[in-house]
Each structure stands twice: as structure tokens, then as C-alpha cells.
């Protein structure tokens, strides 16, 4: 199976050379782009990025494995990331997390069978004053109680 960027993604990839003096700088932006295109960074994607950036696959995987936001395994349609750092914990984010684990019947880091939800803990998301804070994909939600969570889940298409 041959992995390839779509024409738009390839165009964006090529534009990285104008943004950075050092060609190596484009690795992280390329990984973001690849994740957007392909959903997650499978070995095929890693190897494709390695070819594009002229780096060894070991180096590409090394970088991909370092960052929390880069996924080496598929995530569900909605990736729920609940902050469990200090301020959110004091505002009961752990209880929210347990509630969701029970409701979705998955453990931390796992995806529901219908591939709709992945549930993860997250470190401080910068929403401490509106704790508990969580993200679903790229969107922030604040002051999320279990009831508010139920409502949120219902509303997700």
C-alpha cells in the first residue's frame, strides 16, 4: 500500500522550505501534516515522512515517539483528553475521568469498539481557572461536570 500526500498536503510540505533556513526544521510540521492527512503515524507513514525529509526512519520515529500529541496508534473520531494536573484534580477531574471510563467501558488510552471515542489523561492544558478542563480533538471545554460531559457526548455528531 503506497502512502502519499494529497496534492494540497504536498504543496504545504513544499512550502516548509521557504519558512525554515534549516531543512531539518520541517520534520515536526511534516509530522503534524501527516497526522492530519492519515489520522495517525503508522510505520508506513513514518517511512513516507522519512523519504520526504531524507532522514532515517529511526530518526523520524524517535521524534514522533517523543511528543504526546503525535499518535502512533489510531485514535477514535473524538479524542477526549482530560487534564489530571493539580488544579483540575482539585476540581474533581479524576472523578470525571473515572465516570467516563465506566460510561465508555474503556481504560485510559483506549478506544471504544465503535472507534468513536478515545479517552486519555492530559497534562496541564492551560485552563486551570476554568477547571476541570478537557479537550475533544482540538476544542477546549471548561468547567466540565459529569452531567455537562453527558450532554457534550450526546451533542457530538
Amino acid at each position: 500500500m503506497n502512502i502519499q500526500f494529497s496534492p494540497n498536503a504536498l504543496k504545504e510540505f513544499k512550502s516548509f522550505d521557504t519558512l525554515y533556513d534549516n531543512p531539518k526544521s520541517k520534520l515536526l510540521p511534516t509530522l503534524h501534516l501527516a497526522q492530519k492527512e492519515f489520522g495517525y503515524l503508522s510505520p508506513e507513514v513514518i517511512e513516507y515522512v522519512a523519504t520526504l525529509t531524507e532522514l532515517s526512519p529511526a530518526k523520524v520515529k524517535e521524534v514522533a515517539s517523543f511528543y504526546t500529541m503525535l499518535h502512533k496508534k489510531p485514535v477514535g473520531k473524538y479524542h477526549i483528553q482530560i487534564c489530571t494536573n493539580i488544579s483540575c484534580t482539585m476540581m474533581k477531574s479524576r472523578e470525571l475521568f473515572s465516570h467516563l471510563k465506566k460510561k465508555l467501558k474503556i481504560e485510559a488510552g483506549e478506544t471504544t469498539q465503535d472507534k468513536k471515542f478515545t479517552l486519555s489523561t492530559a497534562e496541564c492544558l492551560g485552563g486551570c481557572d476554568k477547571a476541570p478542563t478537557l479537550r475533544i480533538n482540538d476544542t477546549y471545554y471548561y468547567q466540565v461536570t459529569p452531567e455537562k460531559m453527558e450532554q457534550l457526548l450526546k451533542e457530538l455528531p
Binding site: S56, A58, S65
Partner: protein, 496 residues
């Protein structure tokens, strides 16, 4: 072939003080290297003079007068009159704690780990550790026993994440095949998807790994290092002449491994995997173990007395009927003896060599770094000596011509020890009827065939003292190790 962390040699030497002793070091040079080169023992894992500086193991702390706190010496530069202290209480405490941090998750594999006896953790623990561990929690577990290629076995749990191997593959063969994945104490050393390392320098990573995370599959579980004796020598694998250290068990009379020895001019800190495996042809199993004589179409083991008797008769043959063929795998001393004996004592000029003069001086490397096309260690030596006797034109192709036309009845072959250099050796011997007596002097049991009338076992490079001349014309000395075949004799004792 100089290391990365050093300035060009022309930096002036300055005086610095280390633990009260005045030493000399290149100005602007690496402080840790300066200390180590002057015999000041500073613990370190991640620093290696042949690689870039990482500064991550945090073992090489020293105190420098004028600096507010202790600093790592591998990231410090030598300045004139600097005063360095390596044994203060502060430094010792740092060393002890940083060693402890290295050990808290390290598996207690010593009883089954090949590195035992030459392990960085063991050594420093005995030197300045000797504390009771306060770590009572469960250790981090990681994957073990992962082959990453034909030569290297990986154990990610033993790894102390010094990154020497990562930097090695980045900077020396430049294949960037190893990396440290993940973050924090889940960091794991490895190759991409456990793929095999694919270059001719993989075993250097085993040499530089301070612990048993990377071990040699060839050496695995074979022998404890404290039984081994190290002998300095020269690799016989090609015309580069990498300096090596051979490890033998003198009681068992067996060679276990070859590792590179630093030589700034020839091979730096490294040698290739191909060269490393050359020690295998010295094993008893590969060797002709006694003189053999052909009786009624079969080769029968015999005593040296009988062969001496045979040789005495053979040497009485008219000189013009005697021919000699020499492969470039003998020391210059042995080769000189052969030419001398046959020209002066026997009086024949029919001495031919297998050296290729173009190949012998070819400096092109055929791999990433050191391996050259001429798979013989002493072609230049052989050529020089043959020239001295004015016989340099008498090469293998001339030999093959004359074999058909000249009235030779006796042939002496000084055969190759490393058959990989001459996989087809002897294949061109099929038809020849004028030769009445063929004498083979060599080491490899593969050549023990009834084609020959007399087979005489001699010594391999490990068992010989002498000189190899490399492609550049550099003469380098071999030291004699343990004799592995009791009946084998040096050339000078066979030809006399």
C-alpha cells in the same frame, strides 16, 4: 581520523593543575580528555573521544577553581592555569548519587550478562559506590534479547541511555540506524521497528556500550572476560591494517574476539565487522593440525621428522625445477625468509607472488569507512620484498602462464589463511601433470586435499610476531599470542 571534540593539533599546550599535579593539555581542548590522557581517573559513560559530546550521563563532574559550582568536565574546555579538583567531597557525593540513579532501574543481570568484568556500572560501583541501595520500588521493565542484525544483540532494559551508540551510527558510518524512543524513564534504545543494523561497523557499538545493552552475538555466553588475555595486533582482513586487540584464553588456547585499538592515523577508534570476524580462521576446527603426507593417494598424518626427511630429498631437486607461490597473508619477516631461502639456499628464481600491485595501493574504501578492496594484509610488504629480490614482475598471472610452459616438477605454495580473500584459490589447479610434488604450507583445513603431496601446518597472524605493511606503505607490528595448534611451526623452522 581525529575525534570530533578536539581542536586541530596545532593548539598550544598549556599547563593546568589537576588534584595538585601539574599536567599539560591542549588549550581550548576537551577537559575530560585532557584529564583522562594524563591518567586522572574521572568516571564517565557518555563521553567518547571519537564521538560528539552529549553531557547526559552526568558522571564526569569536577570542581574548577573560580566556578560557582561543580561542572561536567566533558563540556569544559582547557584554559591556561586552570585548577581542577576531581576528588572533593562534593564531587564524590555527586558521583555516588549519579551512579545510584543509573542503578535504580538497572536489572541485576550480572550472572548472565556478557559485560560482567568489563562493565561500567560494576567498575564504578566497586570504585566509589559500595552503598546500600535505598530503592525499594518496582523497577522499570523493558524489552530484552532483541537481535538487531547478525552481529548485535540488544537488551533495552540494561541500557543506561548514554546515547554513545546513537551518536556512533550518526557520526561514523552515518547510517543513523539507532535512536532513543519515547521520553523520561520510558526511553528505549533501539533500531526502527527492531530492524537489523545494516552496515559494516555494527560491532563498534558493542565495544563502546559501557554496559551489556549491546553485546556481540558471536561472543554471547562463550567466555567470561576475566579468563581472557589481550594481545595487540593488526587486522589481517584487508590492506588498511586496522590496529586491533585480540582476546584469547591462554589456558583453553582459543581466540574469542577481536576489537579495534586506537590508532589516529590508520583506523581511529574503529574497525569493520568483516575484519573482526577474521579471528575465526585461527580456530582449531579450521586448521590443519599436523603435517600430512600423501601415501597411496590418501593424506596421512605424520611427524615433523618424516617431513624434514622428505623436504631434504625435495630440496636436492635441480633449482630450475622448483617453483614457489606466495599469498600476501604472511608477515614481511616470513616473506623475506621465503625469498631468501629459495633464492640463496635453493638457488631458484621461480618465486611468484599473488599480490596485485594496483589493488595493493588502492586507497578507495568499499564500505562506509575503512574496508579496502585488497583483502590481504601484506600485499605491499610482499611487493616490496619481491622487488628487493628483483622478482616483482613474477605475479600470479605470470605464474599461471609458466605453470603450463616451464619444466617445474616441484611447487611450494604458501597458502592463504583467510579463504574469503581467495575463495577460488586452488580452483585453477585442476589440470597439471608436470608437477610431481606439490607442497602446501598453510593453515586451513579446507585445503587439506589429496591434490597435495605434503601439507605443513604453519602459524596464523595471531600466533606470529612480525610486520604487516598496509596500503599506504605503513609498517605495523603484530604481537605473538597463544599458539593454538601445538604442531604448527613458524616458516623459519619449516624452511631451514
Amino acid at each position: 581520523m581525529t575525534s570530533h571534540s578536539e581542536p586541530k593539533a596545532k593548539n598550544p599546550m598549556v599547563k593546568i593543575t589537576a588534584d595538585g599535579k601539574v599536567i599539560e593539555a591542549p588549550k581550548g581542548g576537551n577537559l575530560l580528555k585532557a584529564l583522562l590522557d594524563n591518567g586522572v581517573s574521572v568516571p564517565h559513560y557518555c563521553y567518547h573521544p571519537g564521538l560528539s559530546v552529549a553531557g547526559c550521563c552526568r558522571m564526569c563532574f569536577v570542581e574548577v577553581e573560580g566556578q560557582p559550582r561543580p561542572l561536567i568536565s566533558c563540556n569544559a574546555t582547557v584554559t591556561e592555569n586552570m585548577v581542577v579538583k576531581t576528588q572533593t567531597e562534593t564531587v564524590k557525593n555527586i558521583q555516588k548519587w549519579n551512579l545510584a540513579f543509573h542503578l535504580i532501574n538497572h536489572p541485576l543481570d550480572c550472572p548472565i550478562c556478557d559485560q560482567a568484568g568489563e562493565c561500567g556500572l560494576q567498575n564504578y560501583y566497586m570504585q566509589f559506590g559500595k552503598y546500600e541501595s535505598r530503592m525499594e520500588e518496582e523497577k522499570v521493565k523493558k524489552r530484552k534479547v532483541i537481535p538487531i542484525g547478525d552481529h548485535v544483540m540488544l537488551d533495552t532494559e540494561r541500557c543506561i541511555l548514554c546515547s554513545r551508540c546513537v551518536r556512533f551510527f550518526d557520526e561514523v558510518p552515518k547510517t543513523s540506524e539507532m535512536a532513543i524512543f519515547n521520553r523520561g524513564d520510558r526511553s528505549e534504545i533501539g533500531t526502527y521497528e527492531d530492524k537489523a543494523l545494516n552496515n559494516n561497523y555494527t560491532l563498534n557499538s558493542v565495544d563502546i556500550c559501557p554496559v551489556g545493552a549491546l553485546t556481540s552475538r558471536d561472543f554471547r555466553f562463550k567466555r567470561r572476560v576475566w579468563f581472557l588475555k589481550d594481545i595487540p595486533s593488526i587486522c589481517p582482513g584487508c590492506s588498511t591494517g586496522c590496529n586491533v586487540t585480540i582476546s584469547q584464553d591462554p589456558i583453553e588456547k582459543r581466540t574469542y574476539r577481536m576489537r579495534p585499538r586506537f590508532n589516529e592515523e590508520v583506523n581511529g577508534y574503529w574497525m569493520c565487522d568483516y575484519g573482526r570476524m577474521r579471528y575465526k580462521h585461527t580456530h582449531r576446527e579450521s586448521r590443519i593440525s599436523t603435517p600430512l603426507i600423501k601415501k597411496a593417494a590418501t593424506l596421512i598424518p605424520t611427524e615433523w621428522d618424516e617431513t624434514k626427511h622428505e623436504l631434504f630429498t625435495i630440496f636436492k631437486t635441480p633449482a630450475s625445477q622448483i617453483s614457489v607461490l606466495i599469498t600476501p597473508q604472511y608477515t614481511s619477516e616470513d616473506i623475506t625468509h621465503i625469498y631468501d631461502f629459495f633464492t640463496k639456499t635453493i638457488g631458484t628464481q621461480n618465486i611468484f607472488h599473488c599480490a596485485d600491485s594496483h589493488l595493493a595501493s588502492d586507497s578507495t574504501v568499499t564500505d562506509e569507512l575503512l574496508f579496502r578492496r585488497d583483502k590481504n594484509p601484506n600485499s605491499q610488504g610482499l611487493l616490496k620484498i619481491s622487488a628487493h629480490y628483483k622478482l616483482q614482475e613474477q605475479n600470479l598471472s605470470l605464474f599461471q602462464q609458466k605453470l603450463k610452459s616451464d619444466p617445474w616438477t616441484i611447487l611450494f605454495i604458501f597458502g592463504p589463511h583467510d579463504l574469503e580473500a581467495y575463495p577460488e584459490f586452488l580452483s585453477w589447479f585442476k589440470e597439471n601433470n608436470s608437477l610431481k610434488t606439490k607442497i602446501y604450507i598453510g593453515t586451513q583445513v579446507k585445503h587439506q586435499i589429496p591434490l597435495f603431496d605434503l601439507l605443513l601446518p604453519t602459524l596464523t597472524f595471531i600466533e606470529t610476531e612480525g610486520t604487516f605493511v598496509n596500503f599506504k606503505g605503513l609498517s605495523q607490528k603484530l604481537s605473538r599470542g597463544v599458539k593454538l595448534i601445538p604442531e604448527a611451526k613458524p616458516i623459519c623452522e619449516i624452511l631451514c
